[in-house]
Symmetry: C2
Subunit: 374 residues, 2 copies
């Protein structure tokens, strides 16, 4: 793996050098992990003039064998100060000092992550260093995944499918949303996940179909829509699956109609995932199915988003999104409709964009999308 | 409750006015919640010249009845932009614009929370506004709790005691740290917690006594030390309890000795919690018991910390801590010793500093601290 991390750092260095900076300081945890193999709490990565350093507050955590720093990277340890009160660590300040020691005259920072206070502290520590921004350079490198990363997402998706499949075999009526969510999270861990990729959402009856619904004490009742959204983190990589079911012997007509509609929208989104497609066109493909059925008001802002070391990454599939999809970009496709007071439907898959020649989009979350009556 | 929030905002306004700023922008979520009753995702609070406003990205979440914005506070909604990629919301920028509309010429910001990028965006939106910092003014207001806040912590502590008590009645040998941690978290929610206050730590055998140990797949064995640290969040307030047990019929001599030592240290810390005590003296009271037994090397950096809307607040109980304890400040007292390869002991309580006349420190986490053999 060490060459992988080194390769990523080389690409970032090229970005920085092109921007006129000899050194860069990466502080956003997912970015540190991407470039260094691990992101111990408070650690930053210095891409230095003469050497790259992982700057840690206290010794790096040895308790997570899945997440060890790249062995080719020297670790520099800053003593922890029990400073508290949100002032946090000083790894970033120490890293700026190390950049100076290495002879750098400028340092590119992640200004979208670094606080103003820390920026001032860096400026005070190294007043001669010209501080610039690297924008979202690392986030942009992270968009297209390598096969190792995709394989982590694939395993995470399998785990989520298993957890969901087991839940469907159990008795649901009478149980609360909170209990079902906790049980799903336990099953994710049972099957080998590091943990849930995000707080599991279980929504029953009038809550069903609401994006990001937080589980309540409402119990599952006969005739309810039940929508579930969960994901596993596996070796740091996060996937997402969402399904909607009906509780009872047979769905009502309005439920079948609404389900079929959202299913068609989701399929239209999935089918438009080809390399080179504009992100907004994928969004439109799904959205116009719901729009033309008169649900324009009920639609969420986005139809999907990238996933990886974070659950919500670029690209964003929205009406205003810029940019196009590349091959090997994993995204969710998750349209839904929520009718206040009645509930709704949400169907969510994680897929990897693949060229037509390779069989088109690769579906990672394979739980059936038939409307099941449970 | 509305007067409570209004009173807190008045106190903050006085701080700001004393610092020469007519308006302030609070962005750190726990601070927003403290002053506004709720902190919808991405929301900020503008303490304006003419009116206070809760500035939200999209409508505030109506799904959490425990956390509704103060009704006396007007909510200003900024449309959400599916921008993604870490650029986040623009509530802070919108709030700065509103401050200008209200005639403010300066705005105090939480520079320890605000990113450099957002600071630039505020400057660009409102170039005539003088931007200053309010430091950790809200964090300082939060240190001393009112009885309503303490009552939330008390209920949270009861919940954690219940969850831990039930675990002790179950069979432990052969179960993994991860399973035990998940079960504890499920029990917290069963008993009415919003959720765990922090990731539950279960450490067996050689892991026992390690602060912040993340549960692994190691199984509980006869003869192990087992240390557990958990907490409940109740109406946003977070408490903490940690206990160490021995698995089997009888503890070994070294286990009894180590336990007694840590127990004495923890008691010394607890007994020194009086209004007016220097934070470093509380730390020293606990630390010197372990120090003088020859465990200086094995000690963590801190003996305890404040708790409240966040699990790690001021004051910090460390050798270098400044400041004194006030009445009605809840803190943890959590010394421990970890011997590499052998395990160790950690005992952790949440207490509220109270004057002698009121009976001294109020212990919130009442699970026994006898050495139990399970």
């Amino acid at each position: 793996m060490s060459e992988v991390y080194a390769g990523r750092r080389t690409r970032l260095r090229e970005c920085c050098n092109a921007g006129g900076s000899a050194a860069a300081l990466v502080s956003r945890p997912a970015n540190v992990r991407y470039l260094a193999g691990a992101a111990p709490e408070g650690a930053v990565l210095l891409l230095g003039r003469t050497e790259d350093l992982l700057v840690c507050v206290g010794p790096p955590d040895d308790r997570s064998p899945q997440s060890r720093p790249d062995e080719a990277l020297r670790v520099h340890i800053v003593p922890a100060l029990g400073s508290g009160g949100g002032s946090g660590s000083d790894a970033a300040v120490a890293a700026a000092g190390l950049a100076v020691t290495q002879g750098a005259d400028s340092l590119a920072l992640e200004e979208h992550h670094l606080t103003v206070t820390r920026h001032h502290a860096i400026r005070d520590t190294a007043p001669r260093l010209r501080l610039t921004g690297i924008g979202c350079a690392v986030e942009q490198l992270r968009v297209v995944k390598d096969e190792e990363e995709i394989s982590c997402l694939r395993i995470g998706a399998e785990i989520a499918d298993q957890a969901l499949g087991e839940l469907l075999e159990s008795i649901l009526v009478g149980r609360t949303e909170r209990h079902l969510a906790l049980e799903l999270e336990r099953r994710l861990v049972d099957h080998g996940a590091d943990g849930p990729a995000f707080p599991t959402s279980v929504a029953t009856g009038p809550h069903a179909g609401r994006p990001g619904h937080r589980p309540t004490d409402r119990r599952v009742e006969e005739g309810d829509f039940l929508s579930v959204c969960l994901g596993a983190t596996y070796r740091g990589y996060r996937c997402e699956i969402g399904r909607t079911f009906v509780i009872g012997t047979a769905p009502a007509d309005w439920q079948i109609e609404l389900y079929d509609l959202v299913f068609s929208a989701q399929r239209a989104g999935r089918e438009s995932l080809v390399p080179g497609a504009a992100c907004r066109d994928v969004d439109r493909a799904a959205r116009q199915v719901l729009d033309s059925a008169g649900y324009a008001e009920a639609l969420p802002e986005l139809t999907g988003h990238g996933v990886g070391l974070e659950i919500d990454e670029d690209p964003q599939l929205t009406p205003a999104a810029m940019g196009k999809l590349d091959a090997c970009v994993p995204v969710t496709v998750e349209p839904g409709v929520h009718l206040p007071g009645r509930g709704g439907v949400r169907i969510d898959d994680t897929l990897v964009v693949r060229p037509e020649a390779d069989g088109g989009p690769e579906l990672l979350t394979i739980t059936t999308k038939e409307l099941l009556a449970l």
